[in-house]
Symmetry: C2
Subunit: 442 residues, 2 copies
């Protein structure tokens, strides 16, 4: 065999496909950046005698988690303004700080901090949208992190671009520049119905079709968004998107609260995919996405943390737990969103959402070796009846032990393999001083 192989032997493997499978005493063999095979450990050691081996006692190996919505650079604003009403939070805190500080370096430093936190928490791929996408892409690349980087489109001026035309122009130039980076994909990211004009959406739709590129859009985040749209356009946001040709299989719809039954049918029949951000929706009191009904209607639902400024972490395990608990309490049905369903949503569901399910999202031969091993040995996980239940209902990002992206080991027993976290934290601390300077003047 020409490529280097490596054997990973955890106590349990949850490959996600085939569904609800739990393998015990098995190994997963990596060859280069891909999964070669899964088989009983003794066979693995016999068939690959020259391979090195990582043994992970009392660990559960799963596909790396796929965080389908976030604003990585906003990690620098984590905790700067909690417990505030959403428009107060945005207009009096987040936007003024962003207006004064956001530049290439801010985005690069914040994105590296987010990627560091995500890697430490078992997330191996994220969908990101923010200004200066080239800086975010560079940060993700430097961290060897897989990402869909959004090309933001807004009618409002900001440090990166001026008006919708300029956003689209700069976004397309960015897209051309990163085309050959194997870990990166792109999406058009019109910000929201209230910040993009009809003609902006029409141009985005045109390019999306021509370039076969998805559209990532905040949609139906709050009740105010819906009532403002009726006031300004005579239509609910979903109806306006339908009219503009945006409701299609290319649409990655973010948040999706305030949904009527007929709208759920409409989303399903148009092949729209949804990303649910339960903790951001709860913390900002935005509303609830009816994921149980969406799943029943056949809509693919992924999970996202949203930015750390409204969460306040990027922990996909806790996010899946929150999704499950919120779904159970909202529907009054404790059987909704089981642990296995959560695991599928945060891996394969996310991969489908990003159009990457041929490459990631399950542990199958030929797929990319994006892997997460969670240490379930502590007293908190005892007694151990069901590792997937313990993952979803008991573990947190802090229990993630070992992580690979595209076959490269990035985290080993909770420690970064290439430890440069100090420089990342130092940069964050420097930004903190500048942010506090602005906040104290407000």
């Amino acid at each position: 065999m020409s490529r280097t192989t490596h054997i990973i032997s955890p106590t349990w493997i949850a490959p996600v496909l085939p569904r609800d499978t739990l393998l015990t005493g098995h190994s997963l063999v990596i060859s280069g950046d891909r999964i070669e095979v899964l088989l009983p450990r003794d066979e693995a050691v016999t068939q690959f005698p020259d391979s090195s081996e990582t043994r992970l006692d009392q660990h559960l190996l799963t596909p790396g988690f796929v965080n389908c919505h976030g604003h990585a650079a906003m990690t620098l604003l984590r905790g700067v303004a909690d417990d505030r009403e959403m428009m107060d939070w945005l207009t009096n805190w987040i936007w003024p700080i962003e207006g004064q500080l956001v530049n290439e370096q801010f985005v690069y430093d914040g994105t590296r901090l987010a990627a560091l936190e995500m890697i430490m928490g078992g997330t191996t791929c994220a969908a990101d949208t923010y200004f200066f996408p080239e800086a975010a892409a560079r940060a993700f690349s430097d961290m060897h992190f897989r990402a869909q980087v959004g090309m933001p489109v807004l009618q409002f001026d900001n440090a990166w671009a001026h008006g919708e035309e300029d956003h689209i122009h700069k976004g397309l130039a960015f897209r051309d520049r990163i085309r050959n980076q194997p870990l990166l994909t792109t999406a058009f990211a019109p910000h929201a119905p209230y910040s993009v004009t009809d003609s902006g959406f029409e141009r985005v739709r045109l390019y999306s079709e021509q370039l076969d590129t998805p559209i990532h859009l905040h949609l139906h985040e709050t009740a105010t968004e819906v009532s403002d749209s009726i006031r300004d356009h005579g239509l609910r946001p979903i109806a306006r998107m339908q009219k503009l040709g945006i409701l299609s299989a290319s649409l990655q719809a973010v948040h999706m609260t305030q949904l009527r039954e007929d709208e759920i049918v409409q989303l399903a029949s148009n092949g729209v995919q949804v990303v649910h951000c339960p903790e951001s929706n709860m913390k900002l009191a935005s509303g609830t996405c009816p994921i149980a009904q969406l799943l029943e209607a056949g809509v693919n639902v992924a999970i996202g943390t949203d930015g750390a400024a409204s969460n306040n972490d990027l922990d996909m395990i806790q996010e899946a737990r929150s999704a499950s608990m919120l779904s159970k309490i909202e529907s009054g049905d404790a059987t909704r969103l089981s642990a296995n369903q959560c695991l599928e949503m945060m891996t394969l569901g996310g991969a489908k959402f990003l159009g990457l399910s041929d490459e990631i999202g399950s542990l199958e031969p030929g797929k990319q070796a994006d892997l997460c091993a969670v240490d379930l040995s502590g007293p908190t996980f005892q007694p151990m009846f069901n590792p997937v239940s313990q993952l979803i209902y008991t573990a947190t990002a802090r229990d993630v032990s070992t992580v690979w992206i595209a076959g490269r080991q990035l985290l080993s027993r909770g420690q970064l393999v290439e430890p440069d976290s100090q420089s990342i934290v130092k940069a964050a601390t420097n930004w903190k001083k500048q942010i506090e300077g602005i906040v104290s003047h407000e």
Copy 2:
């Protein structure tokens, strides 16, 4: 000074009282089992020159957390039956297993496992109710853990007692035996309106008044409980408890979902205290406790994890976060249950709930030295704008570093000071085999 003093010097101290205070560069001095004083670190070192000192860089020191509702021994049933409807969960899984296995050793082993998890997560006091309270009390004592141990009362027979009379008799005998243990208190724990008769409640009330001992009761946990009570007694459970004289300042009411506005007023005017268990309520789809309205009405609200079998952990930090997020989304108001309010609920609110606020719940001179230090140094907490926000919205039990109960250090940098966790985990693993034997026969 005759008693040994010790200086604890963290980066931040949140004493809870005075409210919303955050001290930086201060030390807390312990003398014996009590808090001596809080003062700037340089003054502490000068005033107590012979003291040893624990420096805790980038740590937040708070009062130990008070977990006001749980069934410690049920930690042995963690994850045995997730994603099930509540009565299916109880009648087909929990009760059959309990019926066959629960004995003194089960309760002792399970309670030690729970105490271990709670200590590792910064919880220093818990309200517990289960069968064989003497075994639970022995386990808490052996772990040097502070607890209110319930004297269970049920009309149904079980391994510990037969009928209400026998429960009360055995409970009172237990109460006499542990009277001199400084870390333990007791409460009558009639199980629930549907499992205790009117005469059982009347006897409990009588003894509660005579012995000045609180009553800890599951009340209004589900909509079914309310409708069954109307069917069987012609009254909602709260009205029945009012009629039986149970609604008083002695009542520790657990769960409290399905509340009408007039019932909230009734609770407040009777001085009833409430413990909110958000994660158990969500996971079992029981319903929501309207804590924002209860707090507004002047009701003291504490936080509890409930048993690990319906949670699935005993992490008070995550529980407070869930309480905050659930309150925000239910009320549609993102300013509800701020981080500072959460910290007060999980410390001083809990202390009041248990009648212990003269002794614990805040960091004030003369109070018991029950302390929790959380390590906020990791990348996940950067940048650091507000340590209390980061505690509630970002940290988990896994970030708790150092813990004292009554002046004795039990956890140091995440490690047990007297490490006997292996024997506790081994006992849990042995019970797991017996439980699986029963489950596989169902």
